[in-house]
């Protein structure tokens, strides 16, 4: 039984941070202008990349399916606007590696034609959950909180499992990011409708919206919308604004006091957690027929003149957004996608916005300085005090530093959510999260290598067996053939002669036996007797070789 707590619990660790969100919330969300070109990656989600269905030169309409998903954990991709496909190839994508990935490049024709149709709320709420999941899947909706897990999969609790609680994650805990808050103030009714659809798909017993207590405006907007739509059973609970209150496990603990088991998922407790932006996307997909082709992105930081929240088409180059926010200031120093704690530094502003881009932080040198050189660890355990997962970051660091990948897993490396609290409080400025990320990918790589070498060993051993088997069979065949040729080969000339003489004797004896045997001469006539005597006289006169 999951009960919602009236006073949220404090999860272990965490750090209080300056929100720095006011500068991007001065105005409501406005749509961004359509760019000339859109670069749409085929993989913007967790799972298998989608497979392109269009070819170079094809015309596409806004919302048209341009890449389909090939497996269960995957999501399709839709054209963000109408236009022509001018290339499908490898382009740089927002990824920490800086590598390229397959993208569909669309030249917008500016007309923005679509063929969207949707259902009304009542029919959606009467539909079968499987149909709702199919609609969500076909709309290409993935978790908009940053991870990008296909939403339709998280709307499927699995056979025989009850969903006690649907948590809507509106706790935007990272500084600077304000897209969810802006969305809640701009489209609260759609959000509530999306929540109701999700609740119906999951048959969830309770629904709660977990929001940070430093967003009073957003809380008010939601409450007004709840009252307007009559969805009084959806509770709103404000949690203390401590980073990372928006972490799934931390939020669930704060709201219910329950801990998601390690290596497990919230569904193991009967809880499902969705981002508030995802709820909005679900409503738009099912009620307006619009697949996931745009999202709210916060453009902020001291490096951009007019921070704002924009509704951006997927695939829009970041440079376009910055231009639409007044352009760069002189203090621009770094370009980050995401927040300052977990975001990735981008090498160029030509990269596109993707489904999981929640914020573009154009940072000045004060906001995101060059980190100082690391000193040795002084074992102060500030990292342990700050870790929201209750881990021992110090021990993880020592083992990652020593590349001891067995011992590091004893300290539950894979429970780390990479929130960055430990690295932020470290007085020696050790890049702790980098060590853990290095260790995790190294361990996965070693696993892959081990599997490959196991298969190679099996194939090699099988080959050796096969060769030996073939050799054995060849030996056997040769042995048989040799035995078949055995008789003529055995013996010499004398033996042969003896054999021939013996054979002749056998024949003579047979003939003699034939002669000596009765010749049927008892009842012969006189004429027959005279003739026989004549033949005998003639035979006796002839030489032996006449026989």
């Amino acid at each position: 039984m999951i009960t919602l707590l009236d006073t949220p619990r404090r999860f272990p660790g965490g750090i209080r941070m300056e929100p720095n969100k006011a500068q991007s919330l001065r105005q409501p969300v406005r749509p961004a202008r359509l760019p000339e070109r859109l670069y749409v990656p085929l993989s913007q989600h967790i799972g298998e990349p989608a497979e392109a269905l269009v070819a170079e030169g094809d015309s596409v309409l806004k919302g048209q399916l341009i890449a389909r998903s090939l497996s269960y954990i995957s999501a399709p991709i839709h054209a963000p606007t109408s236009g022509r496909v001018i290339d499908i190839g490898d382009y740089r994508v927002p990824h920490p590696s800086g590598l390229k990935a397959p993208c569909i490049v669309i030249a917008a024709d500016g007309a923005d034609r679509s063929a969207a149709t949707g259902m009304d709320m009542a029919s959606v709420l009467a539909a079968d959950p499987a149909e709702i999941r199919r609609g969500v899947r076909d709309a290409g909706i993935v978790g908009l909180g940053g991870a990008g897990f296909p939403t339709s999969v998280k709307l499927n609790p699995g056979p025989g499992r009850e969903v006690e609680l649907l948590v809507i994650n509106a706790a935007e805990c990272e500084p600077y990011i304000s897209c969810d808050e802006a969305l809640m103030c701009t489209r609260p009714v759609e959000i509530i409708e999306g929540i109701r659809i999700m609740r119906h798909a999951l048959h969830a017993r309770q629904v709660v919206i977990g929001i940070e207590d430093n967003m009073p405006g957003a809380i008010r907007c939601l409450q007004t919308a709840l009252a307007a739509t009559g969805a009084a059973d959806i509770r709103i609970i404000a949690v203390p604004s401590v980073y990372p209150a928006g972490g799934e496990r931390q939020l669930i603990y704060a709201l219910t006091g329950e801990e998601v088991p390690t290596q497990g998922l919230p569904i193991d407790l009967g809880i499902v957690c969705h981002n508030v932006g995802t709820a909005d996307a679900v409503a738009r997909a099912l009620l307006q027929g619009e697949p996931l082709i745009s999202r709210v992105v916060t453009v902020t930081g001291a490096g951009v003149r007019e921070p704002a929240n924009l509704e951006v088409r997927i695939g829009t180059p970041i440079a376009e957004l910055i231009a639409q926010c007044g352009g760069y200031t002189e203090q621009v120093s770094r370009l980050l996608m995401g927040g300052p704690m977990m975001g990735i530094a981008l090498p160029s502003d030509a990269l596109p916005v993707i489904k999981t881009s929640n914020c573009i932080l154009v940072a000045s040198a004060e906001e995101a300085p060059q980190p100082p050189a690391a000193r040795p660890c002084i074992r102060c355990a500030e990292c342990t005090a700050a870790c929201p997962a209750g881990l021992l970051p110090q021990q993880l660091y020592w083992y990652a530093h020593a590349r001891d990948f067995d011992r590091i897993q004893d300290y539950n490396l894979f429970d780390c959510i990479e929130c960055g609290c430990c690295a932020q409080v470290c007085p020696s400025h050790i890049p702790l999260v980098q060590y853990y990320r290095f260790a995790k990918t190294e361990i996965w790589d070693l696993e892959r290598e081990r599997q490959k070498s196991d298969i190679a060993r099996q194939r090699h051993e099988f080959r050796i067996e096969r060769l030996e088997r073939e050799k054995r069979e060849l030996e056997q065949r040769r042995a048989r053939a040799r035995k078949a040729l055995d008789r003529p080969k055995a013996g010499d000339a004398d033996a042969k002669k003896a054999e021939i003489a013996a054979a002749l004797e056998r024949v003579t004896a047979r003939r003699a036996a034939q002669d000596a045997a009765a010749k049927n001469t008892d009842n012969l006539t006189a004429e027959q007797r005279a003739r026989i005597a004549e033949i005998d006289r003639r035979r006796a006169a002839k030489p032996d070789d006449a026989r």
């Binding site: 993989s43 994508v93 990824h95 920490p96 590696s97 800086g98 590598l99 390229k100 990935a101 120093s333 090498p347 060059q370 980190p371 100082p372 050189a373 690391a374 050790i430 890049p431 980098q434 060590y435 990320r437 290095f438 995790k440 990918t441 190294e442 790589d445 892959r448 290598e449 490959k452 070498s453 196991d454 298969i455 190679a456 060993r457 194939r459 090699h460 099988f462 080959r463 096969r466």
Partner: protein, 189 residues
């Protein structure tokens, strides 16, 4: 004097019995060393170590007849792992046996292949598909990059192609604690 000798003698006998009992009662059946060494080798079966495959090399290491630094495909990682397993010092890779190269796979140029099956017979993991006078092709996912197929080919149609790092196989690098940025910023648009 006698009591001292007796006392020590009895004590040693006692401890000896105790140790003997413990050796039998608490005996742990572990992997033979050969299997453990073989588990650490990369199974490329290339023969660069001087032995006919990874298993014979593992047996030689276990028998003390070969050193741990003779495997180029395994590189530093394997040497380190072997050193840890056997409790010996890490050594640099013995360059006489080759250098650690990027992972590569063999690719047969189908325009040139004459279907002679010589490469099929050479492949230690049977990763080449084909038959006499039929087209030969390398099964990329099974190829270990050992390059044993390249010399036997009479028309020299096999190339070793280095694998590109895919964005999904990419690994985070070991942290740079001096914190130098990857590329210098330039204000040129």
């Amino acid at each position: 004097m006698v009591t001292a000798m007796l006392a020590i003698g009895i004590l040693s006998a006692l401890f000896g019995l105790l140790l003997g009992y413990a050796a039998i009662r608490f005996r742990v059946e572990g992997d033979p060393v050969v299997d453990q060494v073989d588990a650490l080798l990369p199974q490329t079966q290339c023969g660069q170590c001087g032995f006919a495959g990874c298993r014979p090399y593992a047996e030689a290491i276990a028998a003390g007849e070969a050193d741990i630094n003779q495997c180029p495909p395994g590189g530093e990682t394997t040497i380190q792992a072997l050193a840890d397993l056997l409790g010996v010092d890490v050594k640099p890779l013995n360059e006489e046996h080759g250098v650690h190269a990027e992972k590569a796979v063999a690719v047969i140029d189908e325009n040139t292949c004459i279907g002679c099956t010589l490469c099929i017979q050479a492949c230690p993991v049977d990763a080449i598909l084909g038959a006499a006078k039929q087209m030969h092709t390398v099964i990329e996912s099974e190829c270990t990059g050992c390059a044993l197929c390249v010399p036997p080919c009479p028309v020299d149609c096999i190339d070793m192609i280095t694998l590109k790092i895919d964005i999904r196989d990419w690994k985070w690098p070991y942290p740079d604690t001096e914190h130098r940025p990857v590329a210098a910023a330039s204000k040129a648009s």
